[in-house]
């Protein structure tokens, strides 16, 4: 077998790919579901923390900053492994999916809180004053005047960070979740052929390449100078 034939036989073996394509597609769907769950929960939690932080209660802020620092400093895989392997000894069972979801949600929560907070603090103080001086309450001023302006600033960094974190769904394969990488890895070990991996890599590119392009577009669109 020539070098080239060996290459295609290993990495682009049509028979093996066809055999494992269904599992990869299932993994594709699972990855999307996992990613969407992470994005929804993580961004909501991050926004909530940023809003709580705007109440300017000292002890609460120390707590928020500590939690945010914690999940910015720990590698996501460590958190996943800790949840999956650690909780059972306390009598709690978290599935691989749930462990990955919770871990990555916490990480997205931490990063997005920082970004939302940066957005909120860059809205000029005069906007708060104008809103409050017309009788709007704190939450009303926040909701109708400050956040709409803050959100515009947060979209470029938020998109980038969200993309980075949702690629972390591949880590779920480490705790036996049949996502794309999980399906591809098991395909590899069952068939002794890396073609499922090629398929998996392609699946990730199909999923994330458009997202990366979207991120680029959003960055240029929202590069808005005040």
């Amino acid at each position: 077998m020539t070098g080239w034939e060996r290459f295609t036989d290993s990495f682009f073996n049509a028979r093996v790919m066809a055999q494992y394509l269904p599992k990869i597609i299932e993994g594709f769907g699972l990855t999307i579901v996992l990613a969407l769950c992470i994005i929804a929960a993580g961004l909501l939690a991050g926004l909530s923390l940023a809003v709580l932080r705007s109440f300017a209660l000292r002890p609460l802020n120390w707590l928020i900053i500590f939690v945010v620092d914690l999940f910015r400093a720990l590698p996501p895989l460590v958190i996943i492994v800790l949840l999956f392997f650690g909780l059972p000894s306390m009598g709690m069972e978290l599935s691989g999916f749930a462990s990955a979801w919770l871990a990555l949600t916490l990480v997205l929560m931490a990063f997005s809180e920082e970004i939302f907070w940066a957005g909120i603090t860059s809205v000029p103080k005069g906007q708060w004053e104008a809103a409050r001086s017309t009788g709007l309450g704190f939450l009303q001023a926040l909701g109708f005047v400050v956040l709409p302006q803050a959100l515009r600033l947060t979209i470029p960094p938020l998109t980038n960070r969200t993309i980075a974190i949702t690629k972390g769904t591949a880590l779920a394969s480490v705790v036996a979740v049949p996502d794309i990488l999980g399906a591809a890895s098991s395909g590899l070990s069952h068939s002794f052929n890396p073609s499922p991996l090629t398929l998996g890599a392609l699946a990730y590119l199909v999923l994330f390449f458009p997202v990366v392009l979207l991120g680029r577009w959003i960055e240029t669109r929202f590069a808005w100078k005040r």
Binding site: R6, A73, S89, M90, L171, L213
Partner: protein, 224 residues
């Protein structure tokens, strides 16, 4: 509460595991010292290349960078580590990690540095060239230093991410910190070694997180 302490903060087990955890930490640090410069090198190369006007360079470069930004690093790593042997190439975990990180983090550093280079006003280049400096000298002495200063927070942030990323090397059995912690956990059926590893990561990286937070706040205040 007692259960919690025994399961997660078991000092006995942590003490027993400490030798291999230290070995893991050393490996993590070594790995970081290897992959960060590699990534920076790749990044600088990509960023400088992106300043060349030819579309035959611009488009392949753009596709290269977006591909490695779209592909999760773990996938790349497993692809290299598990795949290359099928071509008859024996590859160690360290080499696979080095190559994978070079490709992945190089793309990220490249994007950051490219933005940094673009943020240096054109007038700087014009001034330098009109004093006779070559394009390469201009890049080296005028543009790159300013570019790096402009995007320093992003560079630090990405470096932090790279150090955290070294934990995925545990999946290909490279004996870094997380790997050692998981070994200890599977032997003792106790999660304390992993908690110890988490604490070590935190102690190691938290100062950088704090520094980064301060830098980002300063940049924000200046922009207001």
């Amino acid at each position: 509460m007692q259960d919690f302490l025994e399961a997660f903060l078991n000092w006995e087990i942590m003490r027993e595991a400490s030798p291999i955890l230290w070995a893991g930490l050393r490996a993590t640090l070594l790995l970081s010292l290897l992959v960060v410069p590699l990534g920076l090198l790749g990044g600088i190369t990509l960023a400088v290349l992106s300043t060349l006007p030819s579309p035959f360079i611009k488009w392949p470069l753009r596709i290269w960078v977006d591909t490695f930004r779209a592909l999760p690093p773990l996938v790349l790593l497993i692809f290299i580590f598990a795949g290359l042997p099928f071509l008859g190439l024996e590859i160690s975990a360290w080499s696979a990690v080095a190559i994978g990180f070079f490709l992945n983090t190089g793309a990220y550093y490249g994007e950051i540095l490219r933005a940094g280079i673009e943020s240096v006003p054109r007038g700087q280049v014009e001034a330098a060239r009109s004093t006779g400096l070559t394009a390469a000298q201009t890049m080296r002495f005028i543009v790159l230093p300013q570019a790096v200063r402009n995007v320093l927070p992003d560079l630090i942030s990405n470096t932090l991410e790279v150090v955290k990323l070294t934990s995925i090397a545990s999946v290909v059995a490279l004996p870094e910190l997380l790997f050692q912690a998981r070994q200890a956990q599977s032997v003792t059926y106790n999660a304390s070694p992993i908690v110890a590893a988490a604490i070590i990561y935190f102690i190691l990286l938290w100062p950088v997180v704090r520094l980064l937070s301060r830098l980002e706040n300063k940049q924000l205040a200046a922009r207001r």
